[in-house]
């Protein structure tokens, strides 16, 4: 079993996976009623007409969480090969991994001290 074959499997799977949920939705077309009117297809907000635009600037707090997540997630991807090669690793590689984790922890505590982790 070569590598290409493995990824071909994932490829076929990835093409088919959205088809499974799409099938019932398409089949439903045959059964469901279709009587749209202006009121029905308006935005649903407790019966009151919606005021203003929905797509506005959002709170900066979400953005901060997004940034911290990005830092951690990207660095974690680097830790995976480190963990996978753990058994054959030299002392240098081992210590390097620890330095990396230390910097990561440092970043976390920096964000903590700056109150970036508090939901305001």
């Amino acid at each position: 079993m070569n590598v290409l074959h493995e990824w071909a499997f994932i490829g076929v799977f990835a093409i088919l996976a959205p088809v499974f949920p799409a099938l019932p939705i398409v089949i439903a077309r045959l059964f469901r009623p279709r009587k749209p009117n202006a009121l029905k297809s308006s935005t649903y907000e407790c019966g009151v007409e919606t005021i203003g635009d929905t797509w506005v600037q959002f709170r900066v707090q979400y953005y901060i969480y997004g940034l911290i997540f990005l830092v951690f997630d990207v660095e974690m991807v680097f830790l995976f090969p480190w963990a996978a090669a753990y058994n054959e690793m030299s002392l240098f590689g081992f210590v390097a991994g620890f330095l990396f984790i230390f910097l990561l922890t440092d970043a976390l505590f920096y964000a903590w001290k700056k109150n970036a982790l508090d939901w305001k």
Binding site: M1, H5, E6, A8, F9, I10, V12, F13, A14, L16, A17, P18, F20, P21, A22, P24, I25, I27, A28, F31, R32, P33, R34, P36, A38, S41, S42, T43, Y44, E45, C46, T50, T54, W55, F58, R59, Q61, Y62, Y65, G66, I68, F69, D73, M76, F80, A83, A84, A85, Y86, N87, E88, F98, I101, T105, L108, A111, W112, L117, D118, W119
Partner: protein, 405 residues
């Protein structure tokens, strides 16, 4: 499925098929077989979910359609199929329709790397664990897209909160995933299961399991982290504008995701198909995996139906100030301890195929370290809890003492 695919491929080649076509057809059969497992279980899962929830709430649950309500899901499906599908005029049509598909597909795709038995699996990717992380985050994307494309303020608010939550809990989840990868020395899920022949990882690294369990509960949006729904505040959250089968797809995806996480935890921490007599027949191996995954799945349902919802600031604080530091401490402890033990020749260099005897010193040391970290954490949490309680009592006394106006 590998063997089956190759077998079918050669059969088709012998039958005079074109090489490319034969390969594609055999892949297609393999994909249909693998995806059949989650697609069939999800129908049963919806029934299990409702029945268990009902029992915990002292109700009987669905019991009219078919024996003990087994056909309830079928009836639900017929109902959903006959429901009108409303797309708001202000919505982004393309993204609005794509979101439920992505949501469901992201869960089904995880099953491509799940090893059902030692010889039956979709593919054994060398980066199986990383593949799981990558595919699972598509679910977050689907929720964001659904909330944004609906062009509804409640939906968008719900999506924001959910994405902040999902993104945050992905950090400890992935960190916890590092522990089995490190112990097995491989990212392939098949190797991870094989490395547990001596000792299950849940015993070698119980903290990683607890972190994984808690954050996967959050990843699926279940109580106490069910801000996704927050019925009382956001009407329904990101899926408010959806109706009919598209709405159903979000829920099917959620139910399946919970079960998939159960199976994954069985594979990563409970030895997957390992169990008495698993080598006798693939069916027994498959049954072991199903039983372990099913039990973990039931405990998540139990948790979901017993605990109240947390506030978003509590959820975020718990993640960033408790789970993330804990998961970092866990990784450092596991890697240090294992390295020292290996240097002292007390732990096997390769866990794959290691017997239970070789694993004994490692097990004892790991349990002690994990226990120490766990107890220390519990001490901190207890102290913080007492502080919070005192503050609350002082505030409520001040409130009672204040003159009413």
């Amino acid at each position: 499925m590998d063997n089956l695919c190759t077998g079918l491929c050669t059969l088709l080649l012998d039958g005079g098929f074109d090489a490319g076509l034969a390969q594609f057809l055999s892949l297609l059969v393999g994909v249909l077989l693998v995806s059949g497992v989650p697609l069939i279980t999800v129908i049963l899962l919806i029934w299990v979910e409702r029945k268990v929830a009902a029992r915990i709430q002292d109700r009987i649950g669905p019991n009219r359609v078919g024996p003990i309500g087994l056909l309830q899901t079928l009836a639900d499906m017929i109902k959903l199929l006959s429901k009108e599908d409303i797309t708001p005029t202000s919505a982004d049509r393309l993204l609005y329709n794509a979101a439920p598909l992505v949501s469901f597909a992201s869960v089904v795709l995880i099953w491509a790397v799940i090893p059902f038995t030692p010889f039956h699996y979709g593919v054994d990717l060398e980066i199986g664990a990383l593949y799981f992380v990558a595919i699972a985050s598509f679910g977050t994307l689907a929720i964001m897209v659904a909330g944004w494309a609906s062009n509804n303020k409640y939906a968008l608010l719900g999506a924001f909160r959910v994405v902040a939550l999902l993104v945050s809990y992905e950090v400890p989840l992935v960190f916890a995933l590092l522990a089995p990868v490190m112990l097995a020395g491989s990212m392939s899920l098949l190797d991870i299961v094989n490395a547990q022949s001596g000792m299950w990882f849940v015993i070698l690294s119980p903290l990683a399991f607890v972190i994984f369990y808690v954050s996967s509960q959050a990843e699926t949006g279940r109580a106490p982290f069910d801000l996704i729904e927050a019925e009382s505040e956001l009407v329904a959250g990101f899926n408010i504008e959806y109706s009919g089968m598209k709405f159903g797809m979000f829920f099917a995806a959620e139910f399946l995701h919970v079960f998939t996480n159960g199976i994954l935890m069985a594979i990563l921490f409970f030895g997957g198909w390992m169990g008495p007599l698993y080598y006798e027949s693939p069916l027994i191996a498959f049954a072991w995996l199903g039983a372990k995954g099913g039990l973990i799945y039931l405990t998540t349902l139990w948790l979901r139906n017993t605990v109240p919802r947390l506030r978003i600031d509590q959820i975020m604080a718990f993640n960033w100030k408790c789970l993330v530091p804990l998961s970092i401490a866990n990784i450092v402890a596991v890697s240090l301890a294992l390295k020292v033990l290996q240097e002292l020749d007390l732990a096997p260099r390769q866990l794959i195929g290691a017997g239970i005897g070789e694993m004994l010193p490692t097990t004892v040391v790991m349990l002690l370290i994990n226990g120490a970290i766990g107890l220390y954490l519990l001490g901190i949490l207890r102290r913080r809890g007492q502080e919070a309680r005192r503050e609350f009592q002082a505030a409520s006394q001040a409130y009672a003492a204040a003159p009413a106006d």
